[in-house]
Symmetry: C2
Subunit: 211 residues, 2 copies
DNA sequence: TTGACACCCGACTTTTTGGTCAGTTATAAT
DNA sequence: ATTATAACTGACCAAAAAGTCGGGTGTCAA
């Protein structure tokens, strides 16, 4: 019944990726470029077919008004990934970090994530009050800018750790805050490096927001 | 530090709601209308201020290219609720359904949801294979159009029920399918009414996608 | 071998959208 | 009293984006 052609699938993937990375759908122009065609008409044709197959919806005849329907996710064999209100931007591979090995069993598709989004397994109990428990799986997006309150992946001399990043107008001004009263704040130092931000936590097979 | 004015907050709410309901941000025109002003300039002004306060980001000088930043969620005192890839449209209050009483303890903000999104508590085990268990809390979006595979809230003569909606090209063509082998399919009849679609399930305090 | 179909081109038009400019009004701060 | 700031108006413009029209190419099945 639902036979999707190679080209149609490519376009659907382009749209999916774009939404995941930016939080809103691409324009015709951007799709045209990504797909490597020169005419708008190609996009119009393909969108019409995707729409006919209920994989996609063009809500209004207006800029960037696309919605990927539930079947669209399934066709792509990808999770209905979550463009949080409050998404940020992206980058390229992260080294020296442990990529969770169990991931495969949980949701194989997500390995395909591009643009510097990585899955990590967290060890320790220093963030329990933020809902991150020992051996939890988190989604990390590599980025360079952080705002106070972000939960970040920090590389310290002792290794990597996940803590809440705080920049305050009182001493110690900038520090990492564990979300567990058992642990003390860690003042930020030159030898530390913030690698990325935790954007989602996997709980019982569901991706949820970080607090 | 972060002092947001009434008007700025209103606009942020408009954007938040719009993204939640459609999956993509509004145009200036739509914001202008929702806010009840007649000039574009008002929106430009307000957006500039929201951006200066890092509540919002204008990614490109292009249509619908807004992103609500993490602090934006916090200011609104709302959860970073989840406009799934695959979101649908909205409407007005739903009657005769039990609105979950426990909601308050879990996340008080979500009660503010507008546009026909409701929280229901599910009873029974007929949808366990779709991950919906007895006493689970689900998010329902009232709507009129459904596609095969949607999990829907149906009003039958015997009361309300949640089942998967299937429209097939073989008999019985249109029916409601429980996700539990213990139960039989229910052929669709004239006296049934589909009220809305289940768009999310609450599991351990996290909203996840429906399968 | 002739449709049907998926996919594409290229020039063009129309509409939508964001933006500018030069102002006004109201409120609060110094 | 004066200045600063938030919020807004209304006319107008430029660019972005969607859409139209009239084709073309290759594939595959009947």
């Amino acid at each position: 019944m639902t036979k999707i052609t190679k080209r149609q699938k490519q376009l659907l993937e382009i749209i999916y990726d774009y939404i995941r990375d930016t939080g809103y759908p691409p324009t015709f122009e951007e799709m045209r470029e990504s797909l490597g065609v020169v005419s708008n008409q190609s996009i119009i044709d393909l969108l019409a077919k995707l729409e006919k197959q209920k994989l996609l919806k063009r809500n209004e005849a207006s800029a960037r008004s696309l919605t990927i329907l539930p079947f669209g996710d399934k066709i792509l064999e990808r999770p209905a990934l979550i463009p949080f209100l409050g998404a940020t931007t992206a980058g390229s591979p992260m080294e020296a970090m442990e990529i969770a090995g169990e991931w495969k069993q949980i949701s194989p598709e997500i390995k395909e994530l591009k643009n510097n989004v990585f899955i990590l397994k967290v060890f320790g109990d220093s963030m329990i009050n933020a809902g991150i428990e020992n051996e939890d799986i988190v989604l990390v997006k590599e980025q360079k800018e952080f705002i106070s309150g972000d939960i970040v992946l920090a590389q310290t001399e002792d290794g990597s750790t996940i803590k809440r990043f705080i920049s305050d107008d009182k001493p110690p001004y900038i520090y990492l805050k564990p979300e567990n009263p058992k642990y003390k704040n860690i003042p930020f130092s030159e030898n530390m490096e913030l690698k990325g931000k935790i954007i989602s936590i996997l709980k019982n097979g569901y991706w949820g927001p970080v607090k």
